[in-house]
Symmetry: C2
Subunit: 321 residues, 2 copies
């Protein structure tokens, strides 16, 4: 059943002992939602906890300043920013019993008894902001940090086309309530370890162009990634965005060697190319603009050569070359 903000707030007022579920591979929006909603319910005198099926990266620790640890038997399950209970990993069965889901994904499967969906919100945190206001809980610095984090991270710090005037107005308010926005943005969007800088430097040395510069490839073989200290899978994953940022490139490929002889190729494309179709040719998948596929055996160059051939054909089909 679809419900509106007022109905969701009525439900939240009438119930207690909340278990708030945040999705696996947690990001700033689901964690911002979970901690802000949990904190707001606690400030109303209710019992609530926010949990995630996977370990939460330490850079998000500050979000939990918004909540107190409470011991109680949960009764009411609420999912935030969770489009499908498949995204709850080991907690899928718990999620299937959700009384309420608050989300902004148009693809929401409406698995919960009640769904508050606003697909025009850039971040689910924008909906949580409305709920907190409607609940009459005054914002403090901790709640503001949580709501700010969701709006900033889901919009690439207000860069992407999903950003709306409301996103900016909420950010303005959260800064007014003391959100440590500069610290949050530095952590989320700027901070790089010395290892990450070394990795980018090494990877940039490998860039190759194909199809008159419409295709660019960057490499991260084990010989590179194992020789650099102080990097993690997130650092290597971030390389995937580099080739597509280059002027004139319609398909960016990042080829990384995950284990000896096992290669993951990540694809990013401009709006002229559907790169999920290319990944599917090799048993992979993903979204139109971001996809990936894996190869076992042979060399990294052989894997790349196969994908480039498919990319060149896609470019020809699209009339780019």
């Amino acid at each position: 059943m679809r419900i509106d903000i007022k109905e969701a707030v009525k439900f939240l007022r009438e119930n207690d002992d909340y278990l708030i579920l945040m999705h696996a591979s947690p990001d700033g929006d689901t964690l911002g939602c979970g901690t802000a909603l949990c904190g707001a319910l606690q400030r109303l005198g209710k019992k609530a906890k926010a949990v995630c099926p996977e370990e939460i990266p330490h850079k998000f620790d500050y979000l939990f300043d918004a909540v107190k640890a409470q011991t109680f038997e949960p009764k009411t399950i609420v999912c935030v920013d969770v489009a499908d209970t498949k995204l709850l990993g080991d907690m899928k069965e718990t999620g299937d019993k959700a009384e309420l889901c608050i989300d902004h994904h148009i693809s929401n499967t409406e698995y919960a008894k009640r769904t508050l969906l606003d697909a025009d919100s850039a971040a689910a945190c924008e909906i949580i902001y409305e709920i907190i206001n409607e609940l009459g809980v005054p914002f403090d610095k901790a709640l503001a940090n949580s709501v700010y984090t969701g709006t900033a991270t889901d919009t690439g710090c207000f860069r992407y086309s999903n950003t709306t005037p409301r996103t900016h107005r909420i950010a303005a308010e959260m800064i007014g309530f003391g959100a440590d926005f500069a610290g949050i943005n530095y952590t989320m969007f700027e901070l790089k370890t010395k290892g990450r800088i070394k990795l980018e430097q090494s990877a940039l040395n490998t860039i190759e162009y194909y199809a008159d510069g419409h295709i660019a490839v960057i490499y991260a073989p084990l010989s590179m990634t194992e020789s650099i200290e102080d990097i993690d899978s997130d650092d290597i994953g971030a390389l995937a965005n580099i080739p597509r940022q280059i002027q004139g490139v319609d398909i960016g490929i990042c080829a990384k060697e995950k284990k000896k002889g096992v290669y993951k190729l990540s694809l990013r494309s401009s709006k002229l190319i559907d790169c999920s179709e290319i990944a599917q040719l090799f048993g992979g998948g993903g979204h139109e603009r971001a996809s990936g596929c894996s190869f076992k055996g042979g060399t990294i160059e052989e894997a790349v050569a196969q994908v480039i051939k498919a990319c060149e054909e896609a470019c020809k089909k699209a009339g780019i070359i």
Copy 2:
């Protein structure tokens, strides 16, 4: 003489035939100010042109949609986002005759007959926004693009600590007036030429650390920048942000050789350090977190050594080392 917004607007209403000067090494804020103010004055029926002493990178071409080319003999000189006429290059003498300066740099030398200074504005475009409102000129898409560009570029897309609730509220309004914010942000913050990628790769190879990793330096000598095709002053300017992104770095320095024997050192600092104080030691200036100074003669290493010494002292004073 310091004046307020109302006095500046009265002056702008009473005069005509404006020459609006934007600073050398033009950025999104000075260009956004110049084109927005010029466009607003033209919409009031006045004659105005906005000029810059240096070539303007093509990525800013869209800003000039806000203005019409007009032929006339300029009478009234207005400087925007120009803290010191030294920043006007070959147009310094013209700048010295400025009737009005509109700026947000605390280091403004008050060279103009009238100075409208608001150091609390993240971007000078925030002041131009107030002026356009006070002039009663309705915003359209072109003016909104100019004002949005200044606010976004001077705050690193709302990331930096200079961002205020007002910055976000202005951005919200400009998006409402049709600013092409997603396109602008892609161009300003993501798109890189092939040359830019090569430049970053070369510059990353030069990184040096000092003071236990609290200070990092990156170099862009002429031998590097002249050997790479397809880069402009903006690409070189963007290197300034790289060292401060590295974990543990409190002062990031980018040393570029502008002409043979002429060096510009850009400083970026964490909140523990006021880097405008450091730049001032060498005749430069800027903001607490972003400043710069110039050197003539000697080698780039000698210039860097002087600044590093001052940075180390600032780190000691701040108790960092």
